[in-house]
């Protein structure tokens, strides 16, 4: 039996980010097979329990489209510790929730509280709790989500594996936190780095979402004297495939403030994604009298971007040329992809670079940084620039916003880019599982 861990997906109640899309997309495809089941980790009871993908599918596929944001889902069953932490979140003042630094501190405090609550497990349990999943030696546990967010998950998985003898396959998205720590908030450094260490030791096989991630993981293992398990690279799907996304443009209006002609940048506004370069680029264009279309940024406000946010939203020279949409659901995002002139992706580091792939899948030319995995996505179909050069970024955008060049680039993409479906990604996962050494 292939057991897909849904711990992260079950607990996620916002718009799906990259990780949730991947878990969902692969899990949904895998469940077509009769040999697939689902489990989730309960930190309150320190055990894995059987679960179902159905409530998540219901939430994602059939919830009404709000046009601008996601619908809050029905609350899934959660641990007492988790519920306690969520309840206490309302005690965090709005001012704190709006300030990333204070939010980070509050997040850390809540994580500590969650862990403390988890430790307060009932010694003589008044009730037996949910039934622990009865693993079998020939099971394969597939962890695709964010186990570093779930204290105890990996330790329990390792213990069960040692006891039963099943096999484990885990997905590695990127190594930005351990290897490029300056590009991420320090909060996750220790849990994420330790998770990667434990994953290297606990997994029988790893999946990486790019050759770049594979190389980074191998470098991580070499530095820490870890025996690196076999790593298979899988290509992620690049279509927004939830039931809410129409196959063709729906002709509905774009969000307020979005111009007729615009360049789209999709991704959380955080230091790693390098929106600062876009500010510099639009500023440079204004100084040089180069006309660039409006920049539409789709992404929530993330880590370590206070200064960048200020520049993007308050500099009189560019603020009217930049529109930031912090909460956009798949249907609106598809609309934006379909109607933009081109997309831009200045990231300093990526495990993959899903927005680049999505842009190509929608037939839209992309100007992207040449960092890490990004060149693996579209090869010479993408116009590259250094993530450290506003000059190069401006040159790439000036070219792609030229109607003739843009049309030529779009034609090349239409001719040569082969989109990847979740069915294909799931098939690659299955192929990796098939390469596992026999149980025992």
């Amino acid at each position: 039996m292939i057991l897909v861990d849904l711990t992260d997906l079950e607990r996620w109640d916002g718009v799906h980010g990259g990780t949730q899309r991947v878990v969902y997309g692969i899990a949904k495809e895998l469940r077509r097979g009769a040999d697939v089941g689902f489990i989730a980790y309960s930190n309150g009871w320190d055990r894995f329990v059987e679960t179902s993908l159905d409530p998540v599918v219901e939430r994602v596929e059939r919830a009404p489209d709000t046009g601008t944001g996601s619908q809050p889902p029905a609350a899934p069953p959660r641990s007492a510790a988790y519920r306690l932490a969520r309840r206490l979140r309302v005690l965090v003042p709005r001012a704190v929730r709006g300030n990333p630094r204070l939010r980070a501190a509050a997040y850390r405090a809540l994580q500590r509280l969650r862990r403390a609550a988890a430790r307060l497990r009932p010694a003589p349990a008044p009730a037996p709790g949910p039934e622990a999943y009865a693993f079998q030696p020939d099971d394969v546990v597939l962890v695709l989500g964010k186990p570093w967010d779930e204290p105890g998950l990996q330790a329990r998985l390792d213990a069960e594996k040692e006891r039963v003898g099943f096999r484990v396959v885990e997905l590695v998205y990127d190594m930005v936190i351990p290897l490029q720590p300056h590009l991420h908030h320090p909060t996750l450094f220790v849990p994420y780095t330790r998770q990667m260490f434990l994953q290297a030791q606990g997994a029988d096989r790893l999946l990486a979402i790019s050759e770049s991630t594979r190389r980074d993981f191998e470098a991580f293992c070499a530095r820490l004297a870890l025996d690196c398990p076999p790593i298979d690279v899988i290509r992620l799907a690049d279509r927004l495939e939830s039931g809410r996304v129409p196959a063709e443009d729906d002709d509905l209006p774009l969000p307020d403030g979005v111009a007729e002609e615009f360049v789209l940048c999709v991704g959380t506004v955080e230091v790693r994604k390098n929106h600062a370069l876009l500010y510099e680029t639009w500023r440079l264009a204004a100084e040089r009298g180069v006309r660039l279309p409006q920049l539409v940024i789709v992404g929530a406000r993330g880590w370590l971007v206070e200064e960048t946010w200020n520049l993007l939203t308050r500099d009189p020279a560019v603020r009217d040329s930049i529109r930031i949409l912090t909460s956009v659901d798949d249907a609106v995002l598809a609309r934006l992809y379909r109607r933009c002139r081109c997309t831009v992706y200045p990231s300093r580091y990526e495990g993959w670079g899903l927005p680049v792939a999505e842009s190509l899948a929608y037939g839209k030319p992309v100007a992207a940084s040449s960092a890490a995995s990004i060149p693996e996505i579209g090869g010479d179909l993408v116009r590259y620039f250094s993530p450290h050069s506003a000059d190069e970024c401006l040159a790439a955008l000036a070219a792609l916003t030229d109607p003739r060049e843009c049309a030529a680039a779009a034609a090349r993409i239409a001719e040569r880019y082969v989109p990847t479906s979740w069915a294909e990604t799931a098939a690659a996962v299955r192929a990796s599982i098939a390469r596992l050494d026999p149980a025992g």
Binding site: P181, F189, T193, Q201, A225, D227
Partner: protein, 407 residues
């Protein structure tokens, strides 16, 4: 046999009241061996108070703060400062002089050459001419150079300090009445420097006598933490220990599995963990605690219990010319040992014992630890068991005591 009526003063640059590192243990064993044979034996150390705290005897002389303050910047030259202070610092000189005048030694045993920097001139000024025994623990000049270089000390300071140490070792080797070396290779080096009367006095160890209650303490502690196998490195924060640890163990402990731990005992633990920095600063610092535990400095009974419970003893020594006390300790522990060639210097025969792995690169050292964990403990032959007994202090220092009695 009644004690011989000799007045022997042993001097060095560290106290020996609560010996922790190898040099302290050797000096303590020498003093004890002398006291068994001679009627009057005193020890005096000129030492850095911040390194050794309150573990000193009334004879011992702490460096005044105006001198000690300069030491942390260039820790290796601390011994040189202590040596010079004996003649040049008024406070240290006055206390040392008072001891010389009251004790009137026939023989002065200088353990490591550094005290001789000030003691030679002071004896001349006092008109004293005792016999001098030079107790060598290493060939210091190349050792200190290696360590200072590993720690990135300024080249100018290295050149100056190493030159002075080299001159000192040569002078004392030539001038002393008896030279005691730890290893045959050191003995040969000192003879080349001019030593004429020499004796080989290898490092030794007291037999391991663990208290069952202490063993039970560690067993329970590791069981509660889910630890099934431990590799133990006992050592001081002495820089060669840190250098050796970095070279052949390293701070990436991915070669240890889920139920395995590296345990550091002695001040090496604080030294390694201290240099790792905060956990959110490097992947080594973040993951080190997953597979390592710093037991810190331990009282001797607790340490003996830990050694007895260890599955593998590690001797990751890559610098230093002397024989290592930890090697003798490992020989007497009669368990699995993973050691470098350097760590076995003076005990080369131990490499042929069962349960011993010799490895000199990081990859080989890690591999050897894994093999050791997986290997059943094999018994020693009666000949090997008898050979192991030769590493006790009593056996090792007997030639030195006899040679001093003949002076």
């Amino acid at each position: 046999m009644p004690p011989l009526d000799r007045r022997i003063l042993v001097t060095g640059t560290f106290p020996i009241e609560q010996p922790q590192h190898g040099g302290q243990k050797r000096t303590r064993a020498i003093v004890d061996a002398y006291r068994r044979r001679f009627a009057h034996v005193e020890h005096v150390a000129v030492f850095e108070p911040r390194h050794y705290g309150s573990a000193a005897s009334p004879n011992d002389i702490p460096l005044p703060s105006r001198l000690a303050d300069g030491v942390p910047h260039h820790p290796v030259v601390g011994d040189l400062i202590a040596g010079h202070a004996i003649a040049e610092d008024p406070e240290v000189r006055a206390r040392f002089t008072a001891l010389l005048r009251s004790f009137r030694p026939d023989i002065i045993h200088v353990e490591c050459p550094f005290p001789w920097l000030g003691l030679g001139p002071l004896l001349a000024d006092e008109g004293l001419a005792p016999r001098v025994v030079f107790g060598s623990e290493n060939i210091e000049a190349p050792l200190r150079e290696q360590v200072m270089r590993a720690f990135g000390v300024d080249e100018r300071i290295i050149e100056e300090a190493v030159g002075e140490i080299d001159r000192l070792e040569r002078a004392l080797s030539g001038d002393c009445d008896l030279l005691a070396a730890c290893t045959p290779s050191d003995l040969k080096a000192h003879r080349a420097m001019g030593a004429t009367r020499t004796v080989l006095a290898p490092n030794g160890m007291s037999p391991l006598r663990p208290d069952p209650a202490e063993r039970a303490h560690w067993r329970e502690r590791f069981r509660a933490a889910g630890v099934e196998r431990i590799a133990l490195f006992v050592g001081s924060g002495h820089m060669p220990n840190q250098v050796g640890f970095d070279e052949v163990v390293g701070r990436g402990l991915g070669f240890l599995r889920r139920h395995e731990r590296l345990v550091l005992a002695g001040s090496i633990g604080d030294a390694v963990v201290g240099r790792l920095g905060p956990a959110d600063d490097s992947i080594e610092a973040a993951t080190f605690p997953l597979r390592a535990e710093n037991a810190g400095r331990l009282p001797e009974p607790r340490l003996q219990g830990l050694i007895a419970e260890a599955d593998v003893l590690l001797l990751p020594i890559t610098a230093g010319g002397g024989s290592n006390l930890k090697t003798a300790e490992a020989i007497l522990a009669d368990t699995r040992v993973v050691a470098t060639t350097t760590a076995l210097r003076g005990f080369e025969w131990f490499a042929d014992f069962p349960n011993v792995w010799v490895a000199d690169t990081r990859d080989d050292f890690h591999r050897a630890i894994r093999e050791a964990f997986a290997s059943p403990l094999r018994p020693r032959s009666p000949e090997q068991a008898a050979l192991a007994e030769t590493v006790t202090w009593e056996h090792c220092l007997a030639p030195l005591v006899e040679a001093v009695a003949q002076l």
